[in-house]
């Protein structure tokens, strides 16, 4: 039986097809988010199915998650990304007790019990200072791609402190830093540190090890290390971290059919 998890995030839509008979991921895909997100998601799902020689009728159940979950009318049910990420983490890192997800527009910290169920969670405020959006803003200011920021930060000798807790203010601060000839590599490292610091403040004193990092921002080199430094404990990177939520949604779909 094939089931699907569709994570309609703020920046990208991620899809995971799961084969319950094989007990393995059958395929996955992602595409940029857009205005008509249901159409975009449906096309991406159909494209993935076609690649695998399947059709929509072969999918027993679809669970939608992410901020756009309610907009995906073709899904059989919608579950929040907190529950889905927790389920995904349970599959890829069953020993994890704290999952940190840094996404495009929000970030979340999820505490898991020994069985992998959500014990508690927190999410960031309206401000995107601790999210991938911050990286996008900074990358644009530094004339770099988001993916390049990690390499730039790695070359920094002294990260500059970014003290603002708001992306808009921080952008102003970065403009000021550039005007004062600060090294872009130090700015990139400062921003990475700032995001890690924001997430660490969400964790507070409740970092329960092992800690696993998921979400698209986890792909930026150095992010896990920055978070580990901010938390004062090791942080493991989830495999294919951007798909964790979609994987969790697919697994929940499988369990609902079982």
């Amino acid at each position: 039986m094939i089931v699907a998890g569709v994570d309609a995030g703020s920046r990208a839509i991620k899809i995971v097809l799961y084969d319950t008979a094989a007990g393995a991921v059958a395929g996955r895909a992602s595409c940029d988010q857009g205005v008509r997100q249901e159409d975009i998601a449906a096309r991406a799902l159909d494209g993935l199915l076609a690649d695998l020689g399947l059709a929509r009728g072969d999918v027993a159940r679809v669970v939608a998650t992410g901020y756009g979950r309610a907009a995906l009318a073709f899904a059989d049910s919608a579950v929040t990304e907190i529950t889905c990420h927790a389920r995904g983490v349970r599959a890829v890192a069953p020993e994890a007790r704290t999952a940190v997800d840094i996404g495009g527009q929000d970030s979340k910290v999820i505490w898991l019990d020994a069985g992998g169920a959500v014990r508690d969670f927190v999410m960031n405020d309206r401000c995107a200072a601790g999210t991938g959006r911050f990286l996008e803003v900074v990358a644009s200011r530094l004339d770099a791609g988001v993916a390049d920021l990690g390499a730039m930060a790695a070359e920094s000798a002294q990260p500059v402190p970014i003290s603002s807790t708001c992306v808009v203010f921080a952008e102003t601060e970065i403009v000021g830093l550039l005007a004062s000839a600060a090294d872009p590599r130090d700015i990139a490292a400062g921003v990475q540190k700032s995001i890690a610091s924001r997430v660490a403040s969400m964790v507070g004193r409740r970092a329960v090890e092992p800690v696993v990092l998921t979400g698209g921002v986890a792909l930026v080199p150095g992010m896990a290390a920055a978070l580990a430094a901010a938390l004062g404990c090791p942080v493991a990177l989830a495999p294919d971290p951007q798909y964790t939520g979609a994987l969790g949604a697919a697994l929940l779909a499988a369990e609902a059919r079982a």
């Binding site: 003290s163 807790t165 403009v175 004062s180 610091s197």
Partner: protein
Amino acid sequence: MPLPSVIFASSFVPPEWIEAHGLRPSRVAPRAAGAVEREGLCPFAGAFAAAADGPDVAAAVFTTTCDQMRRAAEIGGDGGRAERFVMHVPSTWQTPAAHRLYREELGRLGRFLVRLGGHGPAPGELAACMERREAMRDEVLARRPRLTSRAHGDLAMRFHETGVLPPASDTVPASGGSPLMLLGGPMRREDLGLFDTIDRSGGCVAVDGTESGEREWPRRFDRRRMGGDPAGELADAYFGHIPAVFRRPDSGLFDWLAAALRATPVRGIVVVTHPWCDAWRAEVPRIRDASPVPVLALDLAGAGASAGEGSTRVEAFLEALR
């Protein structure tokens, strides 16, 4: 062995009182770097909360002069070994009861200091502390004309933190630029960069009316009362005099502003506020209305007003004044 350090950031905590209890008062200008950061949290309060967890701090005194600072007493506390004390400084001042309450709060602070390892002031000890501090405050003001704004800012900050003054030095010349009044909230260490910006841009700070400056110093002590009731004189000189923005009503602040502008002609006023500081931000329009000279409102966002946009605004303000 050095005396245990008791840190505070409010003008209504008399250092003389702590000193007379055998402890070391330190009115800190906390660092922006390392501050506790939270959505909606005043950066100064966050910086002071972090300072309270500092390694050499025996106790931190928070006051109710602003709600953010009052509540900052509940931030952290597990990172350091410092005791925390919240002192109620009445907002009202019109009634004898408010004055009595301030005096009682000083008494409560005193008992806290004794529990911390201090002792009750010996006869004459408090009065001696008051005389010594007053002389040093006079000296800080007297040195202003001979120093750049930044050098004077550093001097005042060092005096507040350590209670001592370095030997007078006239090697740093005063800028002699357009005289300005600073007004507004308290300054973090990094905010002193504003003084540099003012010096560099052709201005000088003639009056420091921030919460870190001389506006929030006590009046001169009455020597006759100091002999008989030094604690009462101390309380009156602080509580009965300081024209603070949190007072209800805050008419004393505007009386002070008018008098200060008469006493020291300035070309403009720079009102500095921290993000989320309600008390000062709400009064900026009234200050504009009350001021006969131009007013620049400057948000001490981020690492301070010395860099970027803040610097440009100060420079433009001084260009306009010229």
